[in-house]
């Protein structure tokens, strides 16, 4: 009936512990993912900060450099047709704001050559020179990286025109210092935020997983056999888990109930035949002891009769047991096997073939009437065979009452637009309308004078329901009963999908 673990062993404490250790941790994954994400974000941010702080420092200090260069530029003039410069003190006072940075400069004229400053300074800018357009660039000089501002312009007066070029550089100490102090502050903030975020994630993971622990505890603390739904309040996210567990428990309960029913069935089924078997056996015992005066022949004849009854009863009992077993198998298959596309005909013909001889012994002709080639449905062949077996057995049993007349049971399969209809037609006494609704009830037996378990049709009903098929009992003309079962056709495209 159920799928069970093959070897259900109780794990020892140690094994349990090691299993727990080996098991992947949800919380660990959660935290790790958080760590990685925050780490990536933080490192990106730090990268950006590094870049940005450099730019910012250059921007601020380039202003100083620009201002100093402009002050120098303003003091360039022509004296007796010669370019001359009188560097203002204030220009270098501006530069002195970057207190530790060395200053290098060069003033030259394209016509006159070197005018003042550091003669070995390379005054070629990295970009093509454009008049009056200031350029900033880094270049190594005197063993240090130096930030240079560069400008070139024309000096004209009525007599002459000269081009003057000024390069003014400043080492990068203050810039680096500013950049690193910005970076340091920003990195501190980023690291702080990242730490806070990670802490929150760790706390959050604890909070998020707490409802799971609560459910776990609720389940652990349950009394044995308590299958009532869990009724603790859980957040939305674990609601489905709770519902799933509750569904699972409901199913378990159903299964247990079925098992109880089945046990009850079995007990019920076996009690009656056993009781009658006992009665028969007592009867046989009493034949000799009760009447010692009777003739041997007479008594042995009666004893034989009694024992024959016992044998018959044993047969019936064995049949019942088989039926119960079949029912168990069918019930198991219905629960565990998925329905698959099958041809409806083979199980029907198989069960007809199986029953034909038995039926004939009882004076019933069993005929199969079908001219369809292929009848594909979604179902379980074994269950359908069991169903047919029960229906045919039932039909034969009720037909055989009228054993004097030749009677027959017809099994018919016909096709409709959307379904196949199986008919099992008998010409017995028929079932009164009142009882038609009750025949599928478990242990309901229409007539106690006919041998039967009372479970066969209940099983048929189970199988039919499981296949989402439809069963109907109609009267046969002129008399008798027809069971008709409709199975939906298997749609190929459904199957493919």
């Amino acid at each position: 009936m159920w799928q069970k673990s093959l070897n259900h062993q109780n794990l020892s404490e140690e094994e349990e512990q090691s299993a727990l250790r080996k098991a992947p941790s949800l919380r660990f994954r959660f935290i790790l993912t958080g760590f990685l994400v925050i780490g990536v974000i933080a490192s990106l941010a730090i990268n950006l900060i590094f870049d940005y702080s450099q730019k910012l420092a250059d921007l601020s200090y380039d202003r100083l450099l620009r201002s100093a260069l402009l002050q120098m530029d303003e003091n360039v003039g022509l004296m007796r047709n010669e370019v001359s410069i009188d560097i203002p003190w204030s220009a270098f006072a501006t530069l002195a704001q970057a207190d530790e940075d060395r200053v290098f400069y060069k003033v030259e004229s394209l016509e006159q050559g070197f005018i003042t400053g550091y003669q070995d300074l390379n005054s070629e800018p990295p970009q093509p020179p454009v008049l009056d357009q200031m350029q900033f660039y880094n270049q190594e000089y005197s063993g240090e990286m130096v930030r240079f501002a560069w400008i070139q312009r024309h000096l004209t007066d009525p007599e002459t025109a000269k081009t003057v070029r000024i390069v003014l550089g400043q080492t990068r100490l203050s810039r680096e210092e500013m950049a690193s102090s910005i970076t340091q502050k920003a990195v501190e903030v980023v690291v702080f935020i990242a730490l806070v975020a990670i802490t929150l994630i760790i706390i959050g993971s604890h909070l998020v997983l707490r409802p799971l622990h609560r459910i776990e505890r609720a389940l652990e603390e349950r009394a044995m056999g308590d299958l009532t739904p869990i009724e603790i309040n859980t957040p939305k996210e674990t609601h489905h888990l709770k519902v799933a567990i509750n569904h699972f428990m409901a199913r378990l309960q159903t299964n247990l109930e079925q098992l109880e029913n089945y046990t009850a069935d079995a007990a019920h089924q076996l009690r009656t035949p056993l009781a009658s078997l006992k009665a028969l056996a007592e009867n046989a015992r009493d034949i000799t002891s009760a009447d010692p005066h009777s003739t041997d022949l007479d008594s042995s004849e009666r004893q034989y009769q009694a024992l024959d009854n016992i044998v018959k009863q044993c047969d019936a009992l064995s049949q019942t047991v088989t039926l119960l077993l079949n029912q168990a198998v069918v019930s198991h298959r219905l629960q565990t096997h998925r329905l698959e596309p099958i041809d409806l005909l083979p199980p029907i013909t198989a069960s007809c073939r199986e029953q034909a001889v038995t039926a004939l012994h009882k004076g019933v002709r069993l005929s199969f009437d079908c001219d369809l080639k292929e009848t594909m449905i979604l179902g379980d062949a074994f269950s359908i065979q069991q169903m047919m077996q029960n229906l045919i057995e039932n039909a034969v049993r009720y037909s055989a009452l009228d054993a004097q007349n030749d009677t027959e049971v017809i099994v018919q399969v016909s096709e409709f637009e959307r379904f196949y209809r199986i008919k099992v037609i008998d010409y017995g006494d028929g079932i009164p309308d009142l009882e038609k609704e009750r025949v599928f009830e478990r242990f309901y037996r229409g007539r106690y004078d006919i041998a039967g378990s009372g479970v066969g049709l209940a099983m048929v009903k189970d199988i039919v329901d499981h296949h989402s098929a439809r069963i109907e009992i109609v009267d046969t003309e002129p008399k008798g009963t027809t069971f008709q079962v409709d199975f939906a056709k298997f749609q190929y495209h459904e199957g493919v999908l």
Binding site: S84, I85, D86, I87, P88, W89, A91, F92, A93, L95, A96, D99, E100, D101, R102, V103, F104, V107, F114, I115, T116, G117, Y118, Q119, D120, S142, G143, E144
Partner: protein, 354 residues
Amino acid sequence: MRQAFWGFMLIVSMFVGKAWATETVWFGNSAATRVLYINSALDLASFEPILHEFVAQYPYIKVAYHDVNTLDLYHLTIKEHKKPKASLVISSAMDLHLKLVNDGYAQSYQSSFTDRLPDSFKWRNQLFAFSLEPIVMLVNKNAFPGEMPEDRQSLLQTIRQNEKVMTKRIGTYDIRQSGVGYLLASQDARQADVTWGRLLEAFGSHDVQTYCCTHDIIDDVASGKLVLGYNLLGSYASQRAQDDDRLKMILPKDYTLMLMRAALIPKGAPNAEDAGLFLDFLLSDNSQKMMQNQGLLFPIWPDLNNQNDPFVVNAPGPTGVIELDQQLLVGRDYAKQKRFIRNWEMALEISDED
């Protein structure tokens, strides 16, 4: 290459040659294993007690002291930059020293002593000031006509009113020969351009006498050959004025320039360790106190408890501290310097051939 444009300075190279030949004075135990060579533009008279104290404190170090004129000191340091002989270079020409640092001839040094030095007294941890002194006028009381001048304006007035007495009897630095002389002149021009112009004109028209060194000026003022010495280093003037009644030191009231003496350790110095030790010693409370108490130099941290201490600056007017930063480079700009010296020569009506 870089010093190529200083080529014109070779004109005065004859002095350079002479200066480099001066004797080296030794201090300390001759058996001491460690030798510290100091090139300095500081007169031994002001420095000797400090040097004695140093070798007394560090008996395993002997000091070789080489007195060099400020401008020569600059050229010497550049000349020796590949293999410096001196491990410590001390000068009052702040601008030249700063230029040496800017141009990469110095190495960094850091200690608890340099750390407590205010930022305005050091640059890049390569240049360290250890004294701060006023720039003064020194007057021969007996020879000076009329009232003592209290500022540059009254000096100008005295010159105009006593043309005869003053002619050829004012002494100041030859800015072509003296690094510190140039610095002071350029700072004068910067502080008060108009006054400086007038002063220069008056100096020119009264045949000002130019000197290479402070002591020569002071000697001549004391002897009465000069009536007044202009722009002298306060420490030397103060020292002499104390001992000599004829001399009076005047801190100009309009503004008093304040000059630092600074030291650097050349890159590749053979004994940078002991140079650092000496620097720390100069900056220590002990030697700072010594400078003041023994009347050697004006310390950075003067003990202000002593009233009327001649080695505590007591300027009657504003002080113009020559700042130890990149601005000093402007004064030493090649073009500016050339023009400044030419103007100076023109004003004083002297030419290179003199």
